[in-house]
Structure formats: structure tokens, C-alpha cells
Point group: D3
Chain length 146, copies 6
């Protein structure tokens, strides 16, 4: 069974950033979907990964002691970083800096309950030279089963 | 001078897709910003590129005879495809299929008029196995000066 | 809690190929671990992916109707293909051909039961010019939570 | 002429790691095949490369003063790292750490003596978050003429 | 309209390096083409990017305050680095060092005046182990509209 | 011992293309260096690889029956293609076409005779949309021990 067009986890994650929203639509909250948001600016790829991981753990989106969940989150983060860096996953090593907002959403986007929970990591912000204003927007989205 | 926070070309391109909008905000229209939208479903990467290029030319977003503009558009498309494929730029060769909406927006997102025109290509839809329902969402954004 | 040194799912998957074994160690069978094996030779990346997916579904390693499981398997396959192709994920498009055995193993390699099931896809064989003998060995391993 | 099925250099290199062996099969020793093994744990890609290179030079697998041999080894290492990182060749820059055993084997795996010597670099171990236990197995194999 | 066979910007940029020339052909100077040259040796990718960017700005090849031009230059540099590193864009993180000359040329290589200005970044030198002599040549060329 | 500044194999290979030369400098001919040249235009990556391989074999640059030499050549070709495609190694799958000249040079570029023979593959031409004139120059160089 396909995606539920009212439960599009990637779209919701991205809209939290693009609309500067601080809550999910009521229907998704009723279904028990969770999310968190944060910001990170860095030339250092590992700081971007760490910021998203830390937020997800501190806000209870993933269980801290369970590698299974950390693994799902990690690959979703890297997929999102890949969109922002357009494939290279490199930031400071190529003299770029990023200023990003991120959101993490957890829920089941499918009509079939057995599909269980999925996680979406969205990134939106700017990438550019390490000089204020020499930058353009960038977006990334990673989705994984969790 | 930095990006104008009310003229975020990447955000506008993405919102045209996520909101299923068919026009840009009035302020941007007054400034002469142009856009077009379309859809493409394929296992074939070159068809995705061609669909976006063809729409951009047919809708007058880029000048057909000018390589300069085609070049700017092409790299923006490839950057967007990179987000959707999370770096590999491969679709059917890895047994995936995509069902994508795309938008192309042209305008100046910077406060400084001398920054001239830029182009954003946004992709939003699904990627997955070539079987209905075995898919998740994917997003890509490419931005270039034009 | 760490990996259980007697339940190393990647090692087991690789040894099934390197030893030409047709069963898992007794301890793992008692724990309910599942596996299957197969072969595929092709210049076509999508045929490699399809051969592994089809075997996994036909042998009951993953549930056919559940995208969650197909998704876990797919990413494990692509990670394994990445080892064989050393990053490019391209075969025939770069005039190479592969002759591969594959194994798929499903079980929990961690001491902690809550880590649940994981899947390993191992590939071992040759890659080279599409001429008999002009080839060397190649290996790939992909691991995912499922 | 094809690979000699009893002289599979990649398989031998991998089995040295998976079986925790400290010698090659007698037949290969009689043929003058050489090997060495070692371990490296790091978040730093260059330390992984350096550990394998240093071992190969110190153990006499490659000639120190000859770039030809260093070059052959280097590309074999990078191909193996590519399997472990599944294409990105990045470790700490993406907040991952590796704990790897490596083996290096040198010999002629082909039936034809004129194929001369080849080198295989095998990597086996874990990759994951820089936290004990948050990791899964990874494998890489690089093969080159030398 | 096609490239003008006497105004091949990439070829000119490369010949400035390979011939150790310090001026462009007279015809191109008359057309107002600009260029600069420099050298950089490093294990650090960002230093390579910075050296080229700094030279281009200091020599007036691109306008300092205009992101549009910095953006065009940046992507041309990264494309050139991609040739030198053969796709990975990584240097020291994989224990390599580079010793490079670079040239930057700005002009219109097309017959059609409306194609406007383009920029070529050429890199030529060596890449190898961080030990004198353990290196081979490498070349990269990036071209962008500006 | 370092590269011999008068025996730069990569530079010689590139100059054969940029100068449209049909012979190597006399000094290199006396040393027994070999080369060949050719052309290939295609959207199909495997045709580019095949054209270079076929020329090298037909012109006696590499021994046909020896995988060792084919392997050295293959990796040099792929490295050169990587420069032309700036990392992706994809042509038609991303709706690009190439028109390339290639040269292959074989000789020892080092001061030390023991470094033996090396091979350089140079590519120079255009890459762009499959429409005449919508293209820019591209360069690639691959170097390997043989
Ligand atoms: Mg996926
Ligand atoms: Mg950019
Ligand atoms: Mg993983
Ligand atoms: Mg090879
Ligand atoms: Mg281009
Ligand atoms: Mg090399």
C-alpha cells in the first residue's frame, strides 16, 4: 500500500523549516508523530551530523541506548547532508560553510500500519564561502525506516 | 550584501511544489520573477533532465539559443537530481524509479541588484522500487547564477 | 551493548561465499537466523540489484508486501555494490562486467535483544572487462537494520 | 588466461582476517606469496591509509624506495577504504569511527605467469558512531597489479 | 553557435601552465581576455581552493564584492579539483599531497557575443604521498559561465 | 627519485592533443616511448572506454593477451573520464554528450630506471547537451604504472 498523501513525512519535515512552524498538523500529533528542530552553522561536517544527532536524542526522537535507532537516524542525516552538499558530503574541506536549520520527524507515512515508524531529516539554509553574504540556499532530505 | 529574506528563490521553488501552488507571491511577480512547473516519472535519468530542460525552454524561463543559459540550468538540474538520488545521480541503473514534480524559478534573491538573475530547480516526489507503493519521498534543490 | 563476537552477521554472510557453505553455524540456526544465496553475472547494475532482491523475496528473507523490509534490503544491496564497484556503482556504463555470488543473512548480531533484526548482503566474485579472464576479484558488504 | 581458482588473492586476504589466521596456505607460501596483517582504529582517514602503508613497507611487502610499488599499494588501499565507507572515503568528517584489521597479500593469482605480481588489501572490522557499541561491520577489498 | 576554435578558453588556460607562458595570445589580449597564474602546494583541499580564489580576486579576474562571480569561480575550481583528485575531491584526508600550478582565464570562447564571459580554471602539477618523489602528474579543468 | 622534468608523461600526452601533434619529442622517441591518438564522440560512457582500449591494443601500446596491462590501462582511462565528467563518470545517463580526442603515452617519466613503464591517458574535447554548440571544453588525465 502506498504513501498516505496526508502523512507525507518528508514534506512535513521540510514545511516545519520553510514555514518556521513549531508544531506538526493536529492530525499527525494525534497519531503520535514526534518532531524536533534546531540550528547549526559550521564548516565542519561532523558538527552538522552531531548537532542533528544530539537534538534527536535530547528531544527523545530516537532512543539513546539503541544502536538500531541511531543507525537509522545517521543514514537519514547523511542523505540529507548529501542534498545540501550536492553529493560530495564535504563542507570545510572544500572551503564552504553552512548555516542550516534542521527538523527531524518520526511517524508512519504509509497507509499500511505494518510499515511502522520512519524518520525524516530535513535541512534548509545556506551554503557558501566563509564570508557573510557569499552564499546561496541549500536543501536536503533523508528518509529511513526506524 | 546578503540574501533578501523575502526573496529566497530556493524556498519559493520548493513551496510551489509542497503547496501545489501555481503562482509566485505578488511581490516576486512585480519584480519580474518567472517560474514554471511540471512532472516527470521515469527510471531514466536523462528523461528527468530532459523534462526539466524542455519545460524551462518552452515556458521561456531560459533562452533557447543561448548556451550560457542552458549551462546554468543544466548544472542546477544536476544539483537537484543529486539531492533526489543522494549523491549517485543514478536511477534506473540501480533499479530505482522516480515520480517527481519540478519547479524552476528565475529571479534575483539578493539585496544587491548587481547580483543579477539566478535560477532554482526544485524536485519533490518519490523514489523507490519500480513497484507502486514501494517508495519514499525525495527532495532536491539546485541553484545557479544565470 | 556491543556486537556479539559469535554473531557477526557480516562475517557470516561473507564466509558463506568464501567457503562455499550452504548453511549457517548451528548456533545461529537455533537463534532463527535466516539466509539465502545466489549468483548473478551481468554488465547491468539493475540486474545485480534485481537478482538479490528476487532471491531475498523468494526465499522468504524479507516480506514481499512490506516496503519497510524492501527498503532495508535495497540500501544493504547498494552498499554492497558500492564495495564491488569501489564507489561508482557503475558496471556496464563503464564497460565492466561482474560475475558475483551473493548471500543475504538476517538475524540480530548484537548482545542486546532489543537491537532486533539486521540484514547483511555480501557479494563476492569478479569484475573486469567483458572478456573471459580479464578480471580480478571484488567484494562488497552492506548491513542494515530491518 | 583466467584466475587460478586456488590462488584467489582477494579471498586469501579476506580469510586471513575472517579466520584470524597468521599464515597463508602452504601452496601459496611455496609459490613465494607474501603477506602481512595489522590493526588500526581511527576517525581519521589518513591514519588508516598510513597504517596499511607503513605495515606493507616495514614487513617488506612493497619496496620502500620505489614509487611504482607505493602507487600500486595506495590505489589498492583506497579501493578497500571505499568498500568500508561505501563510496564516500570519509570517516571522521562524517562523525564516524572505524576499528579495522587489515591484511595485505602479494602474489600472482592468474594461471599465466606473465601476469606477474598483484597486491590485495583487505579491511574488516566495524564502522559507526564514536561511541562503543554503536557500530556495525564493514568490509573492503582493493586489488591492483604491482 | 559553437565554440570559436581560436578562442578555446580551456585549452588556453591549460597551455599557460604546460608551456610556462606568462601571457595570452595577442588575439585574445585584444579581445580583452584576462588571466592570472599561481602555485599552491598542500595536503589541505581548502588551501587549494583559497589560493585560486585569492589570486582571482587580487588579480582582478573576478569582482570581490559580487557573489555571482565568486560563485562562478568556486564551481569552476571544484570541477578542476575533481580532475586532479579523480572524483573524490579529497587530498590530505586520504594521505595525499598536491603541488599545483593554476591558471584562471576569463573571456568569451563562443562565436556568439551574447554568450558573454566564461571562466576557466586549470590545474597542473603532481599528486602523491607526502614524500618527495612519490608522486605522479595530475590535471584538472573547470569551466563556467560568469 | 623524482619525476624527470623532461619526461613528463602526462604533459606530453596532453600536448599531443592541445597541439594536434602526431609525434613525441625526439628525446622520448629515442627512449622508446610509445603513443597513439584517436577520437570518439558519444553519449555512451562504455563507447568512450572501448575506443581508448581498442586503440591502445590495435596500436600496440598494451599487450592484448595480458590482463595486467589491460588493467593498468582501464584504470587510467577511468581516471581520465573522471576529469571530463568532473567526478560522476556519467555521460548519456545525465543527458550529456562528449566529443573527445584521446592520446595514450607509455614510457618511464622518472629519473630512476627501476620505476619502469607508466601509462598516461589524456582526453580533450567538449561535453554538453546533445545539440551542436551547447557545449564547453573538458579535460581529463589518468596515469598508472604498467
Ligand atoms: Mg531510501
Ligand atoms: Mg553553488
Ligand atoms: Mg550503516
Ligand atoms: Mg581494478
Ligand atoms: Mg558545465
Ligand atoms: Mg595514482
Amino acid at each position: 500500500m502506498p504513501l498516505d498523501r496526508k502523512h507525507l513525512i518528508g514534506k512535513e519535515a521540510m514545511l516545519l523549516l520553510l514555514h518556521n512552524e513549531n508544531q506538526l498538523p493536529e492530525e499527525l500529533r494525534k497519531l503520535g508523530w514526534k518532531f524536533c528542530k534546531g540550528k547549526v552553522g559550521s564548516m565542519d561536517g561532523q558538527k552538522v551530523v552531531a548537532a542533528v544527532e544530539t537534538a534527536a536524542k535530547n528531544q527523545g526522537i530516537v532512543k539513546t541506548g539503541l544502536y538500531r535507532e541511531t543507525h537509522a537516524l545517521y543514514h537519514a542525516i547523511i542523505e540529507a547532508v548529501s542534498g545540501v552538499t550536492r553529493g560530495s558530503n564535504q563542507i570545510g574541506t572544500l572551503l564552504r560553510t553552512v548555516g542550516l536549520q534542521f527538523s527531524i520527524v518520526r511517524g508512519n507515512p504509509y497507509q499500511n500500519k505494518e510499515e511502522g515508524e520512519w524518520i525524516a531529516v530535513a535541512l534548509y539554509g545556506t551554503i557558501g564561502a566563509p564570508v557573510k553574504g557569499l552564499e546561496h540556499e541549500a536543501i536536503g532530505l533523508g528518509i529511513n525506516h526506524i
